[in-house]
Symmetry: C2
């Protein structure tokens, strides 16, 4: 009822990868890769130390279980937990002397160092990979052939021959990913900041909820949900990743602790004054507790700046535009009049959004323009009778 299904080939995909491709490790990444390649018509072989996982991936249509009579693979993808990746890479280089070997571990420096230390000339057939794709759910059952589409795929090709690098680059492109070439050290520092530290911060935060009263949890909003979503990740898998990137991760944790210490020192001054005499003064909080306020504003201001540097969802540059906000009545023709007047003002609109909810008769149009043009646009619209929102 469920095994032996012939997966359809994707008639639209043009792929460079020539099989067979051997996938070692049928977890989320390995199985997703296998599914994607199989769908594109590439011959896939599967290996895993767990017979259960292996059988599941096979039954999902990811490929055939590699056996004694299977043809030699041209490409081997090691998709094991990172702590055993180097080991499996070395064994694969040895067992398949004609194959290019890559791994998908989240840490590249240690894996690469170990492979180079033991593989001799064979290391030219090894290229490190890191597809930046994933989900909180792990295991073959959560696999998705579209997992890599649009995602970055880091390629660490130091020490590898050009054919090997090309084979891995083609693999990435064939499954819909965007190849990005980086050094091993550069990669590890990067993922420490954009992947490993977020995981730990989410877990540290969520751990505070373990003993919280249910009445408090009832007040949970989207902010809490978003900051703790990835706290559902698998601890053992992440322990292997984090320990494998201990240096960069430790450095970031220490920097966070420094900021945290400053915050605590600032806030506890106020906490130690429970009668709130300080707080009751009429000057507002800046005059009452400047140390505490300063500490919070400093960290949050740097958080604002850091957040603004994250690229737009589709890889574009973060917004470097100024926003001009204008009230727009909910009447036919209003938006048309607005854009007409904007056109007359001669300012190019880079992006546009409307803030409007049902039942309101006035919406707020948000026009994104290059910063140097914002003042001219505000003045032009004001002169034409539009109500421009002055922010701040």
């Amino acid at each position: 009822m469920t095994s032996g299904a012939v997966p359809p080939t994707n008639p639209h995909a043009v792929v460079s990868t020539t099989g067979p491709v051997l996938i070692v490790g049928t977890g989320l990444l390995g199985t997703s890769l296998a599914l994607a390649l199989t769908a594109a018509g590439v011959e896939v072989q599967l290996e895993d130390t767990s017979p259960t996982s292996l059988a599941l991936a096979r039954d999902m249509g990811a490929g055939r279980v590699r056996g004694a009579s299977s043809p030699e693979p041209r490409l081997v993808v090691v998709a094991t937990p990172p702590d055993v990746a180097a080991d499996v890479v070395l064994r694969s280089l040895d067992a398949h002397p004609g194959a290019v070997v890559t791994d998908v571990a989240s840490v590249k420096d240690r894996v690469r160092a170990e492979v180079l230390a033991h593989a001799g000339e064979h290391a030219r057939r090894y290229v490190g990979s890191h597809p930046m794709a994933g989900r909180e759910r792990s295991g073959a059952a959560a696999a998705d052939s579209d997992l890599f589409v649009g995602r970055p795929w880091v390629i660490v090709a130091e020490g590898a021959g050009p054919d090997a690098e090309l084979a891995v680059r083609n693999l990435a492109v064939d499954v819909g990913a965007t190849p990005i070439r980086m050094g091993a050290t550069e990669h590890d520092a990067a993922v420490a900041a954009v992947s490993h530290l977020p995981q730990l911060m989410s877990s540290l935060l969520a751990a505070r909820l373990e003993t919280l009263p249910e009445s408090a949890l009832a007040l949970a909003g989207q902010g809490l949900r978003d900051t703790t979503r990835i706290a559902a990740s698998d601890p053992r898998l992440w322990a292997a990743i984090l320990v494998g990137n201990a240096g960069p991760v430790c450095e970031l944790l220490r920097q966070v602790r420094g900021d945290l210490d400053t915050l605590i020192r600032g806030v506890e001054q106020v906490a130690l004054d429970p009668d709130g005499e300080q707080y009751a003064a009429h000057g507002g909080v800046e005059t009452i507790a400047p140390g505490a306020v300063g500490a919070v504003v400093d960290v949050m201001g740097r958080g604002n700046a850091g957040r603004a540097r994250i690229p737009g969802k589709h890889g574009g540059a973060p917004s470097r535009y100024a926003e001009v906000q204008v009230l727009v009545p909910d009447a036919a023709g209003s938006l048309g009049r607005l854009f007409s007047d904007v056109g007359e003002a001669g300012v190019n609109i880079e992006d546009f959004s409307m803030e409007h909810s049902a039942g309101q008769s006035v919406g707020v149009a948000v026009l994104s323009v290059v910063p140097s043009a914002s003042q001219a646009l505000e003045e032009a619209l004001d002169a034409r009778g539009w109500r421009v929102v002055v922010v701040g």
Copy 2:
């Protein structure tokens, strides 16, 4: 073109609130409240120390600017930053002797204490509120009349008369919120954990991105985006909130620091061994670096537990069901056969989802059942030839 618009009344809303309602403070919350009330046909008056903000709220249709000849309000909502809320509450109790007065500050203990200390008998007309609603964007221009729909609205009624409490409860319900009665101290401890600490953790994390190379930022994924979304919040507004809840916030920050210290101590052991001799052993990471692994697994395990306690998005209990996963071929009738066999097994399905992406010939059906029934269901389906996924 933009002012003087007559907002439509909502013909479907039945409201208890009798106007006039005076909103003091035309920021995000105050203006959203004003818009919601106005849409429901309640007379709304507006006050704000900023003429710009006041005019904007008026022009958006939130209400009329309160003047010397305006009728006395029956209800006053103080929607100022929390550090001046008590002050404005006291002045409102004094200026409007017939009105119930409430505030929407995110911290209730200090505000309440100050009001009770200075208001004498008038304190019976004061009820603390905290509508648990918001956005990273602040100010009147970001206001939304639907902001409170479905959200909790905490009511702190200690020391207030029953009429005052009822008036505020009706206000909450009239704008679509769910009233929740709490004590002031209970409230402050709750929001410290579900709102204030998440804000700080997000900012601490995002601050690390401030000086990160752009090549590293290019690897950003959804995990980073989710954990840093609220890092875009306004620092000055939050400084007032956090300082006003310094005690509970400080306690949580110290607990986080404790976990962080343990993490650092665990991970730095490995970081101090750069040659990776430890890491190269063949036993996997648990045998190599048990201290580091233990520290990470401990925090992340507690994070898993904490995260699982957050209620479902629509207020339901977090899932307490077991999941049975079954492979389902992508062929007509498969799902029907599955549910038929499930029915024969006599097990009730509490929830169901399908994991399936285009191009795969097999999907994974996830059946949620009460934990005590999961084994029986697995065995029954297995006996009927279904491929049951064994997790772990």
